[in-house]
């Protein structure tokens, strides 16, 4: 079979527009230029409502309603950014974020993960990251390994997150602060080496990203270098 022809989501971190990396002001400015008039007006009202009525009210707070419908109002390409802004306007704390994460669709969960570095200063929201890292949904995995995980995941969990990215084909460009956390991590280097050996034993290519991360584990590593020699690919089985 040939692979279905689908629109490629080239959603790799791009600084100004990635909802986990960009400043909230930049996100807002970006959305203002990208959204049509109706969506722009909807978002403006949603942010005003969220700011006026933060917190949890009744079964569904008004900002939770806006969070749920952001995809169909703004379009899926802009939904993450719109949702991050709504969560910020509603001043959602770790408790509110846990509620909307666990009551959310995959798209809402992704937005919550991307909002974490903006909204939660301490490690209180780690259970959400850990939940996402247990899934096999690569969109959630990519969002889970952002700046919040870089800040708060302990070494064991962080190493497994990196390995899971390699295993499921999530580009390690999504892993925030990769070079700093990988540098001098001998245990990560061992895990990467073992994974490479397992793939070679099976006659499968070693992902280029693996070589890249392995290089970064060198205690003397400088700037990230792509020394990948294998072709892309992973078996991705994680069940």
């Amino acid at each position: 079979m040939t692979h279905p022809h689908v629109t490629q989501d080239t959603d790799t971190p791009t600084g100004r527009t990635d909802p986990a990396v960009a400043s909230l002001d930049d996100l807002h400015a970006h959305l203002r230029t990208q959204l049509g008039a109706t969506a722009r007006a909807w978002l403006g009202q949603a942010l005003d409502e969220a700011a006026a009525h933060p917190g949890i009210h009744g079964p569904v707070s008004v900002w939770e309603l806006r969070l749920a419908e952001a995809g169909r109002r703004c379009g899926s390409a802009h939904a993450d950014a719109a949702r991050v802004l709504i969560l910020h306007a509603a001043r959602a704390d770790a408790g509110a974020l846990a509620r909307v994460y666990f009551q959310g669709t995959a798209a809402e969960r992704r937005a919550v993960l991307r909002a974490l570095p903006h909204l939660v200063p301490g490690p209180d929201a780690l259970p959400l990251v850990q939940d996402a890292l247990r899934t096999n949904d690569t969109r959630l995995l990519a969002a889970a390994v952002g700046p919040y995980a870089a800040r708060h995941l302990d070494p064991h969990q962080w190493r497994h997150a990196v390995l899971k990215c390699l295993f499921t084909g999530v580009p390690v460009d999504h892993v925030a602060d990769l070079a700093r956390r990988a540098r001098g991590d001998g245990e990560l280097a061992r895990m990467l080496g073992d994974h490479a050996a397992e793939r070679i034993a099976a006659g499968r290519p070693v992902p280029a990203d693996l070589h890249r991360v392995l290089t970064l584990t060198d205690p003397t590593a400088g700037s990230p270098a792509d020394t990948g020699t294998g072709t892309s690919g992973s078996d991705g089985k994680e069940s």
Partner: protein, 296 residues
């Protein structure tokens, strides 16, 4: 040929089915919530299922270039179990979600008072959430069940042109059509409708507001029945445009009433490096699930 299966339980199907569906031309599906064969015993079991229909299943479908939407409800059979009924209290927050394009499957199984209550309550929820409703008609005592369903629909706040009556056949199509509801037909290997009878009904009753589905699930069923009906339509003298109307435009029009259809599929970036569904892919583009990096 583009196809839309407006009723298929992909949770119960494999990735091989997704691949076959895409190869047959299916680009969009709606998965209504139903029972799992094994009865549930608590609302929590429904919530995990709903979460899956809004998370993992659309992700799986996207890997195969198929847009996945869902309809959510307490199904008729389990509406009779008082342990399950409290899920009705949780439904409103789910009906707000993107990609929920209908309330369903609701309707009758054994035509009990508990089913009366659940059907009426969920038609009201559909009206309140500006969603259409997918209404299952019973497999036993079907004509009486359709009549009783129509009575409840008439008493509801939901106009008939926002209701799809499903699993219709020769004995129920006329009354269903006269009601102004949309007409759904499930084409199965042994039961319900088959391709030839389906085409005969299209010839007799026309194409307006008719939807054809495979209703494929964990039982004996065939996810490619939509394509087989389209092929037989063409063989029997219907035009390509006729097939497109029944198997694409009609479902788009019905579920489009929700304002939540999103038919463009976006694969995750991970697909060009292998991914978490296409496990075991060779990754070099040579094998069945291999995906050459430049091709997506």
């Amino acid at each position: 040929m583009r196809l839309f299966d407006p009723h298929i339980h992909m949770t119960s199907r494999t990735t091989d089915d997704y691949a076959a569906l895409h190869a047959a031309g299916v680009r969009a599906v709606v998965e209504p919530s139903f029972w799992l064969g094994q009865p549930r015993t608590s609302p929590a079991s429904f919530l995990d299922y709903f979460d899956s229909l809004l998370g993992w299943e659309p992700f799986r479908a996207a890997q195969y270039g198929i847009a996945h939407h869902c309809a959510l409800a307490l199904n008729p059979k389990e509406a009779n179990d008082p342990r399950c009924v409290p899920v009705l209290d949780e439904l409103p927050r789910y009906l707000l979600k993107d990609r929920v394009v209908a309330v369903g499957e609701v309707g009758y199984d054994s035509m009990t008072p508990a089913e009366d209550t659940a059907l009426a309550a969920q038609l009201q929820l559909a009206a309140e959430h500006a969603l259409p409703a997918l209404v299952h008609t019973p497999h036993r005592d079907k004509l009486a069940g359709v009549r009783r369903t129509l009575d409840v629909v008439r008493e509801s706040a939901l106009p008939p042109d926002r209701v799809l009556l499903d699993h219709l056949n020769e004995t129920t199509v006329k009354e269903a059509k006269d009601s102004g509801c949309w007409l759904g037909f499930s084409v199965y290997p042994d039961t319900k409708m088959d391709e030839a009878r389906m085409v005969a009904i299209l010839r007799e009753y026309g194409l307006a507001q008719v939807l054809v589905n495979s209703a494929a699930d964990w039982g004996r069923s065939d996810p490619l029945k939509t394509r087989k009906v389209a092929d037989l339509m063409l063989a029997e003298g219907f035009t390509e445009d006729d097939a497109d109307r029944v198997l694409w435009r009609n479902p788009v029009a019905f579920y489009g009433l929700s304002g939540r259809l999103e038919l463009e599929v976006t694969a995750t970036e991970a697909t060009h490096e292998g991914n978490s569904v296409l496990r075991g892919a060779p990754g070099d583009g040579a094998g069945p699930a291999g995906i050459p990096a430049g091709e997506v």
